[in-house]
Amino acid sequence: MFDFSIVTNWVNDLLMGFLPSWAAVLVECVIIGVCVLLAYTVLALFYILYERKLCAWFQCRLGPMRVGPWGLLQVFADMFKILIKELISLKGTDRFLFKLAPYIIITSSVVMLACLPWGNGLQIIDYNIGIFFILAVSSVGVLGILLAGWASNNKYTLIGAMRSGAQMISYEISLGLALISIVVFAGTMNITDLVAEQQSAWFLFRGHIPAIIAFLIYIVAATAETNRGPFDLPEAEHELVAGYHTEYSGIHFGFFYLAEYLNLFIVSGIASLMFLGGWMPFHVPGWDGFNEIMNYIPGPVWFLAKAFFISFVIIWFKWTFPRVRIDQMLAFEWKYLMPLSLLNLVLMAVCVALGWHF
């Protein structure tokens, strides 16, 4: 497996060669920042097109076709359009909080993106409590949504923000418990180590029944956590206009849009790292020739392919299931999903303690 740290070490040695060490670190930080920014924008643009095309295909339409071949340049046109829209200043808003909310939402998703390893040695932030750190940062994003709804001085945004807060904190528990069952199995919270553990087989296959249940719980909780699919109550347009971002216009609204798509990528990325082996290739025991061929596909391609597949499933949910009611949604989490994930955690712990796993 190609180790990306060769490249980073080469850049580091090059910079250390003719710069004092503090300046080299500064330059490296700037390079990392630019790379994260590029990855963020490219992923957001890709996801906007991905969702629009998939949504069109699910409804037997063609989707954007006019700008560029197969509408590939449509997203650039959209981005430019959203930049030249007026930023409307409103009466009675809490100006400071109103402007602070996009900063919080975007920053939390950028930090989460920087935590995901894309390949061997291709990770930026790598704490030994990696997965815990990601969950902690993801709950900061809720604050941005609550602030946005509160500061807008509009009843619809207030209700949308309250719903969003209730939904995100509720489903965060199931999400956390599903991830804990994998941590129990692997015995580490460091994401790089978690992926390295899956060299022989992915956790989804190694942990058999509890891992599969955890994966299903994770997908449902992640859909709710990103305010998507049948759980998009905070922005239910039939009752709340547009939910917590009703009053935001122009690029201000664009930030919420951007963060929503990036959060979709991040939850899919976590699923890919924790359950589907991250950058590890797909191996079938015994098929040595097949495994060798799979090894030739680079790690980042595997990671992105798995993440895009999970995103495809989550987008599929959105265009298949009707929107649930708010009380149904909370009852589903507290009466079914959370007891199930607690039981699943116990099951996984029993399996690990008694050695019933591969």
Binding site: V25, V36, I106, I125, W150, Y156, I251, V346
Partner: protein, 123 residues
């Protein structure tokens, strides 16, 4: 191990945070430079139903969700307690399993009590 030995994780986290702030700031700056500006009283009103909005919107609001928020606090702290246990489960064996089973039993008892009391009912 992170990207480079020379840079600590904290510095990288700060870099990522600053990157996010820069992204928002730069995009807002560009938008302010090229977007039109105009002001009218009608446009600056809250977008509600078309008729003038009544009263303040930053009010105390009866959310049916506040009990969920209190329950969340308990279960989220529980999750925090479970993480350190989760890392060492393999080494602890059956004894560790029994200890955490008692802890989780008490919590599930709490959830069952709240459920029985109707805290999970939509009112």
């Amino acid at each position: 191990m992170n990207l480079l030995m020379e840079i600590s994780n904290g510095e990288l986290a700060i870099t990522a945070t600053l990157t996010g702030i820069t992204l928002v700031f730069a995009a807002l700056l560009i938008a302010r430079l090229i977007s039109p500006k105009s002001y009218s009283v009608k446009k600056s009103e809250p977008y509600e139903c078309g008729i003038p909005t009544r009263g303040e919107s930053m009010i105390q609001f009866k959310a049916g969700y506040y009990i969920f928020a209190i329950l969340f606090l308990i279960f989220d702290v529980e999750t925090v307690f479970l993480y350190p246990w989760a890392v060492v489960t393999r080494g602890l064996g059956v004894q560790g399993l029994l200890c955490i089973a008692i802890f989780m039993f008490i919590l599930i008892l709490g959830l069952a009590y709240a459920w029985r009391k109707g805290a999970l009912q939509w009112k």
